[in-house]
Structures are given as C-alpha cells and as structure tokens.
C-alpha cells in the first residue's frame, strides 16, 4: 500500500470515529439552545399578557404558531412560578410541543397563563444532523483523497528521488542524494549518503587490496616458475628432474588456485556487469571447437543441439569461461568412449555426460574446493566459478546424476524463487541400480 493511501485511510478512520461524538454534542447543544430560546420567548409572552391583564387591557393575540391561554385558579399559586412541559406532539417524534406555564396573582386573583409553541422534535434534529454528517464525510473523503495525492507528490518528491537513487546504486560509483527541507528525509538522506559513501570506499579498498595481493603473489610465482624452467635446462640427474617436475606441478596448481580465487572475488564484486546481449550460441560453438582434439583423443561422441541466435546478457569473457568449465568437466570426468550431450535453447543450456558416480551429494560440488573423485588434476574451483558466473548473470545452475549420466543445467530465465534441486534419493537409487548404458 502506498504511503499516501495509508495516511488517507488513517485520516478518514479518525474522522469516522470522532464524528458520532461530535454529532452527539451538536445534537445536545441544538436541543438545549432551541429550548432555551423558545422558553424565554414564551416566558416573555406570558409576562406581557400578565402585565396587560394588570392594566385591564385585552389579552391580545398570541404570535403566529403559538397559542396562549389564561386560566383563573381556585387554589393558591404553586411554589414554582414558571413550569415547563415538553411533550411529543406526534408518534414519530418529529415535532414537540413546548408549554410554559406562568403563575401570577392579578388583582388578588391567581391565574395560570399558559403559552405553547411547536418546536422541532428530537428525531427531526437528528435527521438534519445525520444529513449534514453524511455530506460532510463525503466531502472530506473526496477532498482528503484528492489533496493528499496532490500534496504528497510534492512532499514525497524527495523520498521518491532517494528511492530511485538507492535502486540505481552500484558500489563502483558514489551517488549524491537530493537536498530536502523535510527533517526526516534529510536524516534519511544523510544516513544513506554516509552508508553508500562508505560502501564505495570499502569496495575500492578491497579492490585495491585484491589487485595488490594478486600482483604481489603473481610476481613471486612467476619468479619461481621461471627459475625452475632455467634450472631444468642445466645438467641435472633424473632424480633431480623428478623433484623439479613435482615443483612445477605444485606451482601450476598454486597459480590456478590463485587465479580462480581472484576471479571469484572479482565476480563477487560484480566487476563484469554488462548491459548488452551477446550471441551465446556462437561462443558455445567456438569453445566446443577448442575441445575437439581432446574429445577425439578420449573417443567421446558428442551430440549437440544448438538453438540458433541464442542471445544472452552476459559478459563475453564470462560466457567463454562458463562454457569452458562446463565442457572441460564433461570431457575430463568422462569415461573413454563416453558421450557428451549439449543442448542449448534460449531458455536453458544442458550439458550431460557419462561418468563415474559422484562421491558426494551433487549440490555440494558447487562449494569451493569440493571435489567428487578427489582426482589430482583439478583444484576444485570449476563449479564454484560456474555457480558464481550464473549468480552474477542471473542464471540458475543445477547438477544432477541419474542413470550414470551427469547433467548440468543452466536456466537462463529462472522462475523467481524457484528452487531447482535434484532429489538426493534419486542419486542414491540410481547409484545402486545396475548400469544401463
């Protein structure tokens, strides 16, 4: 619900709640005042009549609508010289009859002078008030709704700008929040300004650190590797050569791990944001072509089904890396004379391959340094990179193993909050099953 709607509803709610109270007060005051005015008028009429009788003048006509009667009394005057009666003159209570009895002694004879008049009854007053209230409420609701919208557009302008700014915020660039005179918004903007500035500063610091760390580590690695290469060209014995070979392997591994971790950090920092689409199908074909020799050597048969013109919003380097990691895994973890099946549509990419059963739940393989077969020719970061690339590009990746087939599926347009998890029971069942090829 929008802020302005909330405010409007609350306001209207308060008015609706307070209206009966004000209506009652209004009713009460009206009745009191009508009675008071009428009583004073009728009392004055009685008074005038009494003084005319005193002077021996005729009683005279009562004013229009009211009536006047003079009754000589046999008894003594009552203690209360003015008595007021109010009766409903009809069943429905629309009209009341107000009677004022005044008692006077005129020329030794006690008289009762009564005058009465019809005044609006409680029901009629009530109806009038109800009418007014309904109109008033209607007018207030309409006015409040309209003005709230008009005014809020002005007052909330700054808030809207702030929201827009924060939605567009990217840790790579500082943003300037609008200046406003509204106290709360100013506080909010000042807070956001401080926070976002800090985020940008820290991002820059981390980026610098990782770049420096990368530089500082790559240089000694380069020195080690190059010196070993020079050393391997000197006159060395066979056992020394073995030692050198092991060292070169270790450096290779170190270099890969370092490079992959740096890459993952960069992906987490969102350094490969893109706005343009690329032809993913073309990259997929290129990468597949690069694996041709290794596919041939392992005698793998590859079935491809590339949809034409598959456009994806992804950094070209990441697309290349994604395909490389998926295909690399499909080749490396395959068995000799195995199969690879690649299907690419505008919705998803499915790479499935034959291979040995995984030794752990497949979704755990996306974690860093988790390796299924603990085979030594992998550092265990490939699937983490795949996952990270998918996260960055808004794709969803899942891994399943069924009937001796490993399947990696990348959904390009995942349904929001859709949880795509292979059922672990399936894996166990499939692993226990005899092989069906």
């Amino acid at each position: 619900m929008k802020l302005v709607d909330k405010f409007t509803l609350w306001f209207i709610g308060i008015i609706v709640l307070t209206t009966p109270v004000t209506a009652y007060i209004c009713y009460h005051n009206l009745v009191k005042n009508i009675d008071k005015t009428e009583i004073s008028q009728l009392s004055a009429l009685n008074e005038t009549t009494a003084s005319r009788m005193e002077k021996g003048l005729p009683i005279g006509e009562a004013p229009k609508g009211s009536s006047l009667s003079v009754t000589p009394l046999q008894t003594a005057l009552p203690e209360d010289r003015v008595q007021i009666e109010k009766t409903n003159s009809d069943d429905k209570g629309f009209i009341s009859l107000l009677t004022v009895n005044s008692y006077y002694t005129i020329k030794g004879q006690p008289y009762r002078i009564s005058s009465n008049n019809y005044i609006p009854g409680s029901k009629q007053i009530m109806n009038a008030i109800m009418d007014t209230i309904i109109w008033k409420l209607l007018i207030i609701i309409v006015c409040v709704s309209i003005t709230a919208r008009l005014v809020s557009a002005r007052i909330l302008q700054s808030l809207k700008l702030t929201i827009k700014q924060i939605q567009r915020f990217n840790v790579k660039k500082k943003v300037q929040f609008p200046v406003t005179r509204t106290h709360e918004f100013r506080e909010l903007n000042e807070f956001l300004q401080r926070t976002t500035d800090k985020a940008v500063d820290e991002y820059v610091a981390i980026k610098e650190f990782s770049e420096n760390a990368s530089h500082e580590l790559q240089t000694p690695l380069a020195i080690l590797r190059n010196k070993l290469e020079l050393l391997s060209e000197t006159n060395i014995e066979e056992d020394q050569a073995t030692l050198l070979g092991d060292m070169q392997n270790a450096i290779e591994r170190l270099s890969k791990i370092h490079r992959s971790l740096t890459l993952i950090a960069k992906l987490e920092n969102n350094e490969y944001a893109v706005s343009e689409s690329i032809k993913f199908c073309r990259i997929a074909k290129d990468v597949l072509a690069a694996y041709e020799d290794r596919i041939e050597m392992k005698h793998l048969s590859v079935h491809t089904d590339f949809g034409s013109n598959v456009q994806l919003k992804i950094h070209p380097m990441l697309a290349d890396m994604l395909m490389n990691n998926l295909l690399g895994n499909a080749v490396r973890h395959n068995v000799d004379n195995g199969n690879i099946d690649i299907r690419l549509t505008a919705q998803r990419l499915i790479v499935s391959n034959t291979g040995l059963p995984p030794e752990m739940p497949t979704d755990e393989l996306f974690q860093r340094f988790k390796k299924s077969n603990q085979c030594s020719d992998s550092v265990g970061l490939g699937l983490s990179i795949v996952k990270q690339i998918c996260d960055v590009s808004g794709f969803c990746v899942s891994y399943s193993y069924k009937n001796r087939i490993h399947t990696l599926q990348v959904d390009f347009q995942p349904a929001p909050k859709a949880v795509v998890t292979p059922v672990p029971l399936d894996n166990l069942a499939a692993a226990a099953q005899p092989a069906i090829v």
Binding site: Q218, T219, N226, E229, S232, M321, G328, D377, G382
Partner: protein, 229 residues
C-alpha cells in the same frame, strides 16, 4: 634480435635476460619508467617486454610514449594484473600482445618470436628447421617437401617446439600454450603425451628425423642436434 626488458622485479628481469641471452638475443634491462624512456630515446630495439606496474609510473603511459615517438618496436606487455581492462587498453594503445604473470618462459619466447616475425621480418610466414618447414599463414607443415597431415593443435605444438628448440618444455607449458589457462582444469598430461606421440609418428612417416625427445620427469625437448635418419 635486440630486446629491451622493462621490468622492476630484478629476479624476473634476470630470468628473462638469461633465457633470451641463450637464444643469442641482445637483451637490455630497464628497471624504472625513466630509465626505460631514456633508453628508448637513445637506442632502437626489435622488441620491448613491458611490465605495466613500474615503481615510478604506469607501463601503459610508456606504451603511449612509444607510439607517440613512432618507435617501430614490437611490444609485449607483461602484467601481474589479470584485469581485462588493462589487456583491452594495452592492445588498443598499440601493444602487440599481452601475457600474464606467472608466465612460462618458452611461452613468452614463442610470442616474442611471433611479434618479431610480424614486425621485423615483414610478415614472413615461413619457419624452417632442417627438413621441416612451417607456414604460419596456411598452417601447413612440410617435411622434406612432403605435406604433413597434421591438425591445428599439432601444428601449434610443432611451431612451439621449433621456436623453443633445445629447450626443456614442461608439460604444463605445452598444455597452457595449446589450450590456454583460464579453466580450473590442471593440464591433462595424457593429452600432451598423445599429441607429442602423434606428431612424432607423422614426422617420421615423412622420413623426418626424430627431433622430439622426452625429458624424464619434466617434459619434452626439440633436439636440434638429432641425427638425420
């Protein structure tokens, strides 16, 4: 070939110097931005190895200077940064190639030779060694004027071996040269072995000498002094 190595790390500079000197290249070193600029103003070089991060300046600025002064040397950027931006900027400003630390010396040498061929030998695409000839344009290899039926990867491998003849080439270095190195996969030495095996078979089938030798525990070597069959 005369090479200027602009690199602030003494150890890397000395490795490069040792490696290139063995090829018979004249190799000069510059450790700082200023030193490099002075040398570039005074002497001419066939190729320049340029580190991007220098203590007193950015290598990319030096590259701009090289292009502004119309120095015709080929430039190979060496960087510890795997940053894509640097790579793109470097190549846009006018570098000929880009290599990331930690690199393999034979890989650097192969790229240096490729630049040299393009720049100084006015794009000559023929490389010959004894009875073996390689044409880098058509990717055709001949042994004793017989055309070899080799795949593209085998061609690349043979070229790599010949450029780095008499050098020990580690299996990692060969794998990186053939397949790049940005996947998680560590070099699969079986594939390297198979490529080498096929290449040897094809060369000897064309009556070529068996130049390619296995170096125990380390890798392979193109033995230039191998006896002709």
């Amino acid at each position: 070939m005369k090479v200027l190595v602009i690199e602030d790390s003494k150890e890397i500079a000395s490795s490069l110097h040792d490696f290139l000197a063995r090829e018979g290249y004249i190799c000069e070193l510059a450790e700082t931005f200023d030193e490099a600029r002075t040398k570039l103003s005074l002497f001419t070089y066939d190729c320049i190895l340029l580190d991007i991060m220098l203590p007193d300046g950015n290598g990319l600025e030096l590259l701009k200077f090289i292009r502004a002064e119309n120095i015709q040397s080929g430039v190979l950027i060496i960087s510890a940064k795997d940053a894509l931006d640097d790579k793109v900027t470097g190549l846009e400003i006018g570098a000929d190639d880009y290599i990331t630390k930690p690199f393999h010396l034979p890989e650097l040498h192969a790229r240096l030779r490729a630049i040299y061929r393009r720049k100084q030998l006015s794009g000559s695409s023929m490389i010959s060694f004894n009875e073996i000839s390689l044409n880098t344009d058509t990717l055709e290899a001949t042994v004793n004027d017989t055309l070899l039926e080799i795949t593209r990867k085998e061609f690349e491998l043979l070229l790599y071996l010949i450029v780095n003849k008499n050098r020990v080439l580690s299996r990692q270095s060969i794998a990186t040269h053939l397949w790049g190195d940005y996947t998680d996969n560590l070099a699969n030495f079986d594939f390297v072995y198979q490529h080498i095996k096929n290449l040897r078979k094809k060369i000897s089938a064309a009556n070529g000498a068996d130049y390619i030798a296995t170096v125990y525990g380390l890798g392979y070597k193109f033995n230039a002094s191998a006896a002709v069959k």
